[in-house]
């Protein structure tokens, strides 16, 4: 700080100086807000599809890591997102973010899976019902939206948490660092587990004939997943 006459007057104290974050490598795309998602795909399927609930079960292989943004919403359970959820996410994030300094990107496709419903009040039978609406399947561990730009996690977290609460599966807002931290903690927990008996070990060697009562999928899921639920407390 310059004093009178241009002489720098030293001031007692800046013990800790937190440097402002470096946003040099970040470019905000032309359309920073979330794209509008259709209720029905452009080529709607005529053939009705079987239910196939295995697209909810287990961990996700796609969209598990960040690509463009720095913060996002991570799904901690499986579920279906329909058009209402998409609109809610799009409008809430569009309302809460600043389009000049932040951008948001979808990490889930538009609804593609047809869901049938029989009309209300009718008895069972009479064939499969007509297509009612379309949904997107989300597995646990998948990112739903990504947000980036010249912003901090603390700014983004409140509205991402509000969005995450309204989703049909448990979800949390994450950043790149927090996701890494979560994975590291999980790995550390797995390594320093004092219990000599693990689900994986019991199932792999079929101890006590346990595979009679377990599903063949438990070999891969290893006790951490049950149906659409992700059991976070389990190792």
């Amino acid at each position: 700080p310059a004093g009178p006459g241009g002489v720098a007057v030293p001031r007692a104290g800046l013990k800790k100086l937190a440097l402002p974050p470096d946003y040099s490598g970040i470019t905000i795309p032309e359309k920073p807000k979330l794209k509008f998602m259709d209720k029905v795909p452009a080529v709607p399927k005529v053939q009705r599809e079987p239910r196939r609930l295995r697209d909810i079960r287990g961990p996700s292989e796609v969209a598990t890591d960040f690509t463009q943004g720095q913060y996002g919403i991570l799904a901690l359970g499986g579920g279906y997102l329909h058009w209402g959820h998409f609109e809610m996410i799009r409008l809430t994030i569009g309302r809460s973010m600043d389009p000049k300094s932040m951008f948001a990107v979808w990490r889930v496709p538009a609804p593609y899976k047809p869901v049938t419903r029989k009309s209300l009040g009718h008895r069972m039978g009479g064939g499969k019902g007509p297509v009612d609406h379309f949904v997107t399947a989300v597995k646990s561990g998948r990112l739903v939206v990504e947000v980036g730009g010249r912003c901090e996690f603390g700014e983004v977290r409140p509205f991402l948490a509000r969005v995450a609460q309204k989703l049909p599966f448990p979800a949390i807002p994450v950043s790149r660092e927090s996701l890494q931290e979560m994975r590291r903690e999980e790995e550390a927990k797995r390594l320093d587990n004092q219990n000599p008996w693990t689900f994986e070990r019991v199932v792999a060697s079929n101890m006590l004939g346990m595979r009679r009562y377990l599903s063949p999928y438990d070999l891969q899921l290893k006790g951490r997943y049950w149906g659409k639920f992700f059991l976070k407390h389990r190792v």
Partner: protein
């Protein structure tokens, strides 16, 4: 959570549901599986999940055996305990409630032998202005004080805020026992912000004076130096002018 649910549910839903397949238990965890019903889990699977839960590593010394530390890092005894042995009665007071005080709670120290005496006998051997010997009986948050007297203390004796008008013989402030005079002196000390400002001003005095000198100009400096040399010559012997 799974174990608790298992214990709470037992057989699962209503009686006719349980008869469907007794080993298959309904686990209700807040939302249904995507289908219309809850996802049932076999009891053997529940047992296996309970068996294979995560066990965190245990420290070598259990935490209950270690001495507990308060937020300032000082060792604090849990309650009266061994720190107050030999004292007949202990008094505790809440700090920071009101400037005036009511008497604290007094309670007999368990297992302590009653020794008659007054508070002055406690104060005298410790000495005024000295630090209290055992820290564990003077807690920074709640002013504990151990007293040899069997009688309760007169009101307004120990204070957290120094009050010159009180009739107290002394006070215990910040782990130090002060006499009446000491309390009055303590009250006249400047506040923390004021003293910090004074320190900063004292430290930066030299540099600020130097900067103001340099701003005046070379002629002024030369005049000052000449004056200084003249005075030294007048007072002492011959002084060599500084180079430059």
């Amino acid at each position: 959570a799974v174990a608790a649910k298992m214990a709470a549910l037992g057989g699962g839903g209503t009686r006719w549901r349980r008869a469907w397949l007794p080993a298959l238990q309904l686990l209700r965890r807040g939302s249904k599986a995507v289908t219309r019903h809850w996802k049932a889990m076999h009891f053997q699977r529940q047992k296996l999940l309970a068996l294979t839960e995560y066990l965190p590593p245990r420290p070598a010394v259990p935490p209950r055996c270690l001495p507990c530390h308060n937020t300032q890092g000082r060792e604090v005894g849990r309650g009266p305990g061994p720190a107050l042995q030999g004292f007949g009665r202990a008094f505790s007071c809440g700090c920071g409630t009101q400037p005036g005080w009511s008497l604290w709670k007094s309670f007999p120290v368990p297992g302590g032998s009653p020794i008659c005496g007054t508070l002055r006998s406690l104060v005298a051997p410790w000495g005024l202005g000295m630090r209290a010997p055992c820290r564990s009986c003077i807690h920074a948050k709640e002013g504990w004080a151990a007293c040899r007297s069997e009688q309760s203390l007169p009101e307004g004796l120990w204070c957290s805020v120094p009050m010159p008008s009180s009739r107290s013989p002394g006070a215990c402030i910040d782990d130090t026992i002060l006499s009446r005079q000491g309390v009055e002196n303590f009250a006249r000390l400047p506040s923390l912000e004021v003293s910090q400002g004074q320190t900063v001003a004292a430290l930066s005095l030299l540099s600020s004076q130097t900067s103001s000198l340099l701003q005046r100009g070379p002629s002024h400096l030369t005049a000052l130096l000449d004056e200084h040399i003249r005075r030294l010559r007048d007072s002492g012997g011959a002084t060599e002018p500084p180079p430059g």
